[in-house]
Amino acid sequence: MNPWNHDVAKDEKDLIDVQVDGVWMQMPRGLNVVEVAHRSKKFIPHYCYHPKLSVVGNCRMCLFEMGTPKMGPDRKPILGPDGKPEIAWMPRPQIGCATGVTPGMGIRTDSALVKDCRNGVMEFLLINHPLDCTICDQAGECKLQEYSVEYGTGESRFVENKVKKPKNVDLGERIVLDDERCILCSRCIRFSSEVGKEDVLGFVNRGSHSTLTAYPGKRFDHPYSLNTVDICPVGALTSKDFRFQMRVWFLKESKSLCTSCGTGCNITVGSREGKVHRLTPRENEAVNSQWMCDFGRLNFHYLDSKDRLTRPLLQAAGQQFPGTWADAIQRAAEGLKKVKPEEMAVVASARLTNEELFVLKRLLAELGVTRVDGVQNLGQADSFLRSGDGNPNSRGAELLGLSSGGRKFSGWGEEIVSGKIRGLFVLGGENVIPAGISASALAKLEVLIVSGILQNETTRAAHVVLPAAASAEKTGSMVNVHGRLQRMTRAVAGPGEAREDWMILRDLREACTGGNSLHSVEDVWKAMSMEVPAFTGMSWAKIGDLGVQLESSAQAVPSITS
């Protein structure tokens, strides 16, 4: 459990009267003033305060004017004509992040005193700042920039020389630091200490010479290091992967899920003109809070890989040739019918969405194919967010009855060799050769249909290759290892002629059996909620941006429970 959930009150039901900018309202006792302002639809600017980290109160940006009830000689609050306490205002401002509300407290977030304080703080923060916004990656999502506009004066009275500090510091494998941009908020230090559980960063020297650094000889290579780039309010910490790639205001933001493991961290995909430029965590307290691992965050460059499958491929005379979708679907449909249903095996990848798996389920039921299973993909579990299950939708595949987690699959290699299996349909780009089916067994198959994302040994052996969309390129839902049903929306279109699997399966189903009732994700959901017990009463809209807990947590969520 994060001990610093400052945005959640100790007891949300213990309400007290507080006055915010002249309006009396009820707020949980002890909630800090930054959060109280937020809940009152006001805003107190801040740099160092972060709801998920300890409070240090060093940036001074959240200064507000505070008052307490006037007390009468009987030590009871003096009530005004409106029956509410009269407030005695303190002459000096207080910091909102470290002040919890008490009964009758008065808060002013936009008085002359407060504005003057913010103006002063801004002027100090900008004294040594290089003002290099034009070449800074943070520009567009920089708190220093935003608050300068909102609360600063637009000009500086500072005529002396700025302090020089290290620039372009190679802090770690994935992070570059510009110390001159740093405003010394210490969020990164607190993140690595409190969330990352590893102190690598610190401030050396003091006063205007204070400098963020790692201990000489040590590198900031923590597996969650890139979260510090997200929480850095300025452009001091930048991601080597993203810096100088794209101006952030050009990025289209799509709500999606990380599919690099079974945790299903909620993410925002930043893309422009069909190209994904970055993944950032999207807050969901039931899954990943505001964090994600560096591995998942950077695992999107395969989208532009030269090995992407961009056109359907058809095998003729032992060689693969590009073909049209119509031909590919027809060839695949013929293939599925060529062998008897009991001689067919289907790899229903747990990388597919529930919708895709459901259309597949329909198709297989209509064809009478029962030999279906997923493939186990082991991930590298850690004690924080990463799951040992490398498949993002294992629970979904199980709930749909399409997967036993690879137990059945493990026998298929032999069954192909013995001739029991004569046809194989592989979905989700699973490479079945490392998973246990030998290349010689694959060569023996009469029918091998593969839908996938990247070329691999399995796609190269296929008779029909159907190019499919990757996770950032499709809309659908998945169930994570904790039993939470979550949805993802398409950020970019697949390259070339690649299509979302549910569309491929829809067309294939139409070609095989004439079934054509599922034409949109909503249609799929309607049918799915009636047929799959776990999804009863559920709809696409009901899942929402944060997902729905379907079953009591199948596995503990370390970020939440520990």
């Binding site: 590893e198 102190d199 690598v200 960063l201 610190g202 050396v204 790692a214 201990y215 040590k218």
Partner: protein
């Protein structure tokens, strides 16, 4: 206070290598016991112990203290660099501190400092903190108030305190360094 340790070389062959004497280890352990609530609080006393023993706190000192208190090195380095009292490199055998707070500054601390610098043949070497002579005999730096404003300018030579140090007295003090 515990008894002062003997000269640095008897506690360890060099500040950067060799075995730390059991006497120093014992004193460090004793200092840690004074902070039963949080071992981390013993960082400052241990830094003083190290500097008093070896004259300065280099990487080995930082690492030795961090290990002793189960801290990360950066947490110790933060303190070493924060306090001007702590030195990250050896200073001279005779270390002079010239007060430059207002009364001493008005009383001629600048002249005293310049005289000392000339006598010791010191040049600014770009390092933070004191200037150190090439032979390691002298070092010189400004300090803040030494709490004797009525007798400005005042200086410290190692732990000895001197008042009304003009250029003449400065040359006597340097000459008296044996």
């Amino acid at each position: 206070m515990s008894t002062p340790l003997r000269a640095g070389t008897e506690n360890c062959a060099s500040p950067e290598k060799g075995e730390i004497s059991s006497e120093m280890e014992k004193q460090a352990d004793e200092l840690v016991t004074r902070y039963p609530v949080s071992k981390r609080s013993a960082v400052l006393p241990l830094l003083h112990l190290w500097q008093e023993t070896f004259g300065y706190i280099g990487p080995r000192g930082v690492e030795w203290i961090a290990k002793r208190l189960s801290l990360q090195e950066i947490q110790v380095l933060e303190l070493v660099t924060f306090y001007p009292w702590f030195r990250q490199r050896p200073y001279g055998k005779f270390h002079f501190r010239v007060c430059r707070t207002l009364p001493c500054a008005l009383g001629g601390a600048g002249k005293t400092f310049a005289a000392l610098q000339k006598l010791m043949n010191l040049k600014a070497d770009g390092h933070e903190g004191a200037m150190v002579s090439e032979d390691g005999r002298f070092s010189l730096e400004y300090s803040e108030c030494l709490a004797s404003c009525g007798t400005a300018p005042v200086i410290l030579r190692n732990d000895e305190f001197y008042e009304k140090v003009d250029e003449k007295k400065a040359s006597e003090l340097v000459a008296g360094c044996k």
